[in-house]
């Protein structure tokens, strides 16, 4: 496949049309895998011998945490594409992804706190990984606030793109700073290839289904929200043109 053909989707019309074609399928797939994964996880998994039934929270906590980071990473990539190739769809996709990232971060934080209450005996501990997500949450807030504050859409796209890149570096630094600041109580990454013993097989399959569901949901929402942003931009441009006469 010719890689250059990919850039065609940077055209707002082509993008919108493709979204209209693909969105129903992605949405259905997302819904099905989310329902299957969560029902499987909630009803048909055994309790863990250490954590009891709280182990069922990983089906929400792990995928949302992964998506919280992936969403930011996607924003970083689309911001770079915007700065380098000036494709508006790219900038708008970054704008569209940020609120999804916020919700994912919130879910990760909330489930983490709720899980921590019986496990650690406290709602909130300044554990490095929870703290990192809190900082990520602040970055998301700043990013969205900057988009909202600026009137001119291209200026907003430029400034938020730079903020996203600079923010990524500092988020990365914060991660290490926080690790250094408090060597914590979180168990190692719940899902990683080299630590398979952490998550037993009975949990891993529904977990994979849930992760797929979250990814598909993210993709569907980004498609939908980006198309919304394209429509808004078009409306704004037409209104501005009307005012010019």
């Amino acid at each position: 496949m010719n890689l250059n053909a990919l850039w065609e989707y940077a055209n707002p019309v082509k993008f919108s049309r493709t979204v209209s074609l693909v969105l129903p399928w992605v949405s259905v797939l997302a819904l099905v895998s989310l329902v299957v994964g969560l029902v499987w996880g909630f009803f048909f998994t055994p309790d863990d011998y250490r954590q009891g039934s709280t182990v069922k929270i990983i089906f929400l906590h792990v995928p949302s945490a992964m998506m919280a980071i992936s969403a930011w990473f996607m924003m970083l990539v689309t911001s770079l594409i915007w700065l380098i190739r000036r494709h508006h769809v790219s900038a708008l996709a970054a704008k569209a992804a940020a609120p999804i990232g916020i919700v994912m971060t919130l879910i990760a934080l909330a489930t983490g706190a709720i899980w921590g209450q019986p496990m650690w005996g406290t709602w909130w501990a300044w554990d490095p990984r929870l703290t990192s997500f809190l900082i990520l949450f602040l970055f998301y807030l700043g990013y969205v606030a900057l988009w909202e504050a600026i009137e001119n859409p291209d200026t907003a796209a430029d400034l938020t793109a730079v903020l996203c890149i600079v923010g990524s570096v500092f988020a990365f630094l914060s991660r290490y700073a926080v690790n250094f600041w408090n060597q914590g109580l979180h168990q190692g990454a719940s899902l990683s290839l080299d630590k398979e013993e952490n998550v037993a097989d009975v949990f891993s399959t529904p977990l994979y289904v849930c992760i797929a569901g979250f990814v598909l949901l993210f993709v569907a929402l980004v498609f939908l929200r980006t198309r919304t942003e394209i429509h808004k931009r078009r409306t704004k441009a037409l209104l501005a043109r009307e005012r010019l006469g």
Partner: protein, 50 residues
């Protein structure tokens, strides 16, 4: 219907409730915004072409 969650029932149920609520809210807000943006655009386009 609900499986035996033992002493952690509140914890697990509230996690699922909070998460699903947030996800549904996000989807609802996105869909509403999409509909609103589409209607506004159609109005402006209509005025322009009409």
């Amino acid at each position: 219907m609900i499986p035996d969650l033992g002493k952690y029932a509140d914890t697990v149920l509230s996690s699922y409730a909070v998460s699903i609520l947030l996800l549904v809210l996000l989807v609802a807000v996105s869909i509403r915004a999409a509909r609103k943006a589409r209607i506004e655009l159609e109005q402006v386009e209509g005025r322009r072409n009409g």
